[in-house]
């Protein structure tokens, strides 16, 4: 029994140890540094200040944040609008076909998103596939400027993040009991009523999880905006990176990333509420 107790304590202790080292302590440091001042000789000065957070609300930083949030929100919305029907088609496909179809979504999901961003250049550049095709068919005479535009960044984010929306939606849709939809039909509900009153509420955790997996990276993936958007800072991620690596203003960069954590916190809260609600409904 002694050995057992030792083994149990060892495992629990080790687990809490790495959780503290890899997640809790770094995060506490991040939170702490965001309240300090940048130094010239040392990276930070041990003076507590509200300046960083005040600066977050200054027009300069606020514009970047607002634009990035807007871009990320549009990305998440488009991914949801495009991904939901797609996930529904997958979830209703013949059982034998589902594993390979799902695998085809998972391969891009796990493929390096830098490579996938790079691949888009081939399509978007002035002599790329899209322009060449449009000119050959005579729809255009001059190539469109697609690269180095906010539109290119938007397409890049949708392209890289779409699988992150599809997979949780698929899992949520698979879990919907078809008997509930049958019951709805028997009681005279139309397809739309079934969809709005049964499918959407039951898949809400999947919708929120997908939104979280798209929206948060869309704020941070600085290389997408670097590669497809040119020089302008467009994402919160570019701003944070520049504060760390260009301006050496670590406290400001930390404060900016707290914005992102707050966004995550909000979405996690929504997720928690949605799982509790839909969980309760299925049980009853």
């Amino acid at each position: 029994m002694n050995e057992s107790l030792f083994f149990r304590r060892l495992l629990i202790g080790t687990t809490w140890g790495w959780v503290c080292l890899l997640a809790l302590i770094p995060y506490i440091i991040l939170l702490g540094v965001s309240w300090l001042q940048p130094g010239t000789d040392t990276l930070v000065l041990p003076t507590i200040t509200k300046e960083n957070y005040r600066h977050l609300l200054s027009p300069e930083v606020f514009t970047i944040t607002a634009e990035s949030v807007l871009l990320a929100a549009c990305t998440a919305l488009l991914c949801l609008a495009v991904g939901y029907p797609f996930a529904a088609i997958l979830a209703n496909a013949p059982a034998k076909l589902q594993p390979p179809l799902l695998l085809l979504v998972m391969i891009p999901f796990w493929t390096n998103s830098l490579i996938r961003t790079y691949a888009l250049i081939m399509l978007l550049k002035a002599d790329g596939l899209i322009n060449t095709a449009l000119i050959r068919t005579g729809l255009l005479t001059e190539p469109l400027q697609l690269m180095y535009t906010p539109f290119a960044v938007f397409i890049g984010l949708v392209y890289t993040l779409l699988p992150f929306m599809i997979l949780p939606l698929y899992a949520a849709l698979k879990a919907v009991d078809p008997k509930l939809l049958e019951a709805g039909r028997d009681l005279g509900a139309s397809w739309l009523q079934n969809f709005l009153k049964i499918t959407i509420p039951l898949t809400m955790p999947g919708i929120i999880a997908g939104t979280m997996l798209v929206f948060l990276p869309a704020l941070g993936m600085f290389y997408v905006s670097d590669i497809l958007g040119g020089a302008r800072t467009m994402l919160l991620g570019n701003y944070i990176r520049d504060q760390f690596l260009v301006f050496r203003n670590i406290p400001m960069g930390s404060a900016a990333s707290i914005t992102m954590t707050l966004a995550m916190g909000l979405l996690l809260l929504l997720y928690y509420l949605a799982t509790r609600r839909s969980g309760g409904r299925v049980m009853r």
Binding site: L30, L114, D127, G220, R241, G253
Partner: protein
Amino acid sequence: MNRWVRWGYAGGIYLFLYLPLAVVAVFSLNNSKYSLAWKGFTFDWYVRLWNNTDLMTTAFHSLVIAASAATLATLLGTGAAFILHHYRFPGRHALFGVLFVMMMSPDIVIAISLLLLFLALFLPLGFITLLIAHTALCVPFVAITVYSRFHGFPTDIVDAARDLGANEYQVFRKIILPLAAPAVVAGWLLSFTLSLDDVIISFFTTGPDYEVLPLRIYSMVRLGIKPDVNALCVVLMIITATALILTRKLLKEKT
């Protein structure tokens, strides 16, 4: 919905997901340096990759870090999954919460919070810091993968073993681990691809002495399209796809 509309729509999405990758693959075999016009078939770019010793060193770094981080993450993650499933202890729900938040955290937040930890500890950026950072990235994924495998376990075997006098270590070693083996290997493979595909965390947590492949690709891509980058991308895509297919096979296997 009409059948044709449905499959047309799904096909359109697959085309959107795969067309750019297919274009990269096709042009990695194109015998032309700059233009997108087809100038004949060649394996030249792959040969050049192989002969580029500098690039091969970077690729070797990536494989070493991916294998080490995956191994470390698998050890820690399996332990975490085991205690979450088999023990009731104070803070168990909190531990679940922390793992979930770690998994959902944006890469850039993980990256800079770890960078700050390394700066506070005066650790020079390089192999060690990159290893720690990639382990932090992978561990929650292993824990969740293995935990979901435990979920379908027959608990009576464990009870029987305990009744017959097995201690906790023996239960873990002789019963749990063999049953969970496919999920543990799957967790390792997922970690391996996660580490290999990461850009943002490596960007902040490694130093000039230990460059990894995605960072090299990043600096190459910023200089424009080059056929050898195409070839490199294709190689990485193939590694990822292979690891993924293996993972799926392992997770599907019945106990």
